[in-house]
């Protein structure tokens, strides 16, 4: 039987779906709820309601590596500096989870990594604190200043809700984002998922991307390869157009990414099956996938939601 690139990519996506690890996800959700409750009890009227963010919220999560994110919007007067806010949150979580989890400061979040449970599972939750720009501004604008842990003590202004909104309704782009996240995780490439997300969405905004899953991936890879090393290439943060996410990668990293994608394209061009070298199925869930053989109800690409057309009945 001939190798079909699109069917194979669908299987890569299918075997990386979060629904294969529902019981683990449930553990994450329970912890997330618990953390939110602790934060609300501790900070009371210093914060607005914490909300979910990250790949789970954006529907771009993959089961081979994921965490859940909570954003905590602090009020303007809660702390005198953004660093104080971050440090207080870190101290609180560290104390609260002493003996049950490793709590560590990360670039913009506080990471909570619970110790391995009886099933051998590890739950990881990132808590992202942000402070509103001026008193009572957050309910109106959703804007937050996030702490960035660098030596010069920087912070960044953004709008996480706008970032989540930016990816809504873009189910084709989400498929490609998930494929590139799988690729970067399998190849251990140091590229932020947010960078991948924005560059794929930009490709969809600038190119006519149609056809099957392989056609779409190919067009996106070509776009990235053509554009990423251009001097004037930018990726505007949908949460604040002054932030250029393209700057998060240096020249060398951009060139490496271009080389990687050029190699994938030329390698697959030589032989279709070479695609398997670059995007691997999740072997843990492959058997399950193989069970759904042919016959019966015919459904095309099961790796994404089926969206019916508008319709008229009588």
């Amino acid at each position: 039987m001939s190798f079909k690139k699109s069917d194979y990519l669908s299987s890569v996506l299918e075997t990386h779906r979060m629904t294969h690890i529902e019981s683990l996800v449930d553990k994450f959700k329970i912890k997330r709820t618990e953390i939110k409750e602790k934060l609300e009890q501790n900070y009371e009227d210093k914060i607005y309601s914490p909300f979910n963010s990250g790949s789970w919220k954006k529907h771009t999560a993959i089961n081979s590596k994921f965490d859940l994110d909570i954003v905590v919007p602090f009020k303007r007067n809660s702390f005198s500096t953004i660093t104080d806010m971050f440090d207080d949150l870190y101290d609180f979580l560290k104390e609260e989870y002493r003996g049950v989890a490793e709590v560590r400061p990360q670039k913009v979040s506080v990471g909570i990594r619970f110790y391995t449970d009886d099933d051998g599972d590890i739950v990881e939750i990132d808590v992202v604190p942000g402070r509103e720009l001026s008193k009572d501004d957050y309910p109106e604008t959703s804007r937050l200043n996030l702490n960035i842990n660098t030596y010069d003590g920087n912070y960044i202004q953004t709008n996480i809700e706008a970032q989540i909104e930016n990816i809504k309704g873009k189910s084709d782009a989400r498929q490609i984002i998930r494929l590139l996240k799988i690729w970067k995780q399998q190849k251990s490439r140091d590229v932020k998922s947010f960078f991948m997300e924005l560059i794929v969405i930009k490709a969809f905004d600038n190119k006519l991307i149609t056809g099957n899953l392989w056609n779409k991936l190919k067009t996106v890879l070509e776009y990235i390869s053509d554009e990423i090393t251009r001097e004037n290439f930018t990726l505007k943060d949908p949460g604040n157009s002054n932030n250029d996410i393209a700057d998060t990668l240096g020249w060398y990293q951009k060139q490496s990414l271009k080389n990687d994608f050029d190699y994938i394209l030329s390698d697959v061009d030589k032989k279709d099956e070479n695609l398997k070298k670059h995007f691997k199925e999740n072997e843990n869930f492959k058997e399950e996938e193989d069970k759904s053989g042919s016959g019966g109800y015919r459904v095309g690409d099961t790796s994404k939601a089926i969206i019916p057309p508008s319709n008229h009945f009588g």
Partner: protein, 156 residues
């Protein structure tokens, strides 16, 4: 759990009778107009069985005693994505009511199923159709249909 079988195609549907009761209640609330929406579920047994998990009412629609039109808008698309990603539920078909009538499909219904099956982006070739015929007094009957190669056939 109840089952209906389409012998001709070797296809089966599992569903909970409570779903039918709930839809009848919804039908009566909208009387004398038609109402409808989407069937969500899963496939099993090498795709030979469809399991109905829930039926939802379309949120963006226009209806009358002889017509039901829904619009798959941005919110509805996001709903399908969320149901798929979080609950592993697929869109598997459509349901609607026939007030003061029976559950036989109309030519409009046939065209509607064809539209789903032939739509490139909907990605489903055998959508299920559930029709509930009812009057003010309650449910008259209900039937499940499926389309296969431009032909509708009934279960049970």
């Amino acid at each position: 759990m109840s089952s209906v079988v389409n012998e001709e195609l070797g296809l089966k549907i599992d569903y909970d009778e409570n779903v039918i009761n709930q839809l009848t209640e919804i039908a009566l609330k909208h009387y004398p107009n038609e109402i409808g929406g989407f069937i969500l579920g899963k496939y099993a047994e090498e795709n030979k069985k469809a399991i109905i998990i829930e039926c939802v009412v379309a949120t963006n629609y226009k209806n009358s005693p002889i017509s039901f039109k829904h619009k798959v808008d941005y919110e509805t698309k996001e709903f399908f994505v969320r149901k798929f990603n979080e609950d592993n539920l697929h869109y598997i078909g459509e349901w609607h009511t026939h007030p003061d009538s029976n559950s036989r499909y109309s030519s409009t219904d046939f065209n509607a199923l064809q539209r789903v099956a032939n739509n490139n982006t909907s990605n489903i070739e055998n959508p299920i159709l559930l029709i509930l015929g009812f009057s003010k007094k309650g449910l008259n009957d209900y039937s499940f249909y499926v389309i296969e190669k431009n032909k509708i056939s009934k279960y049970g």
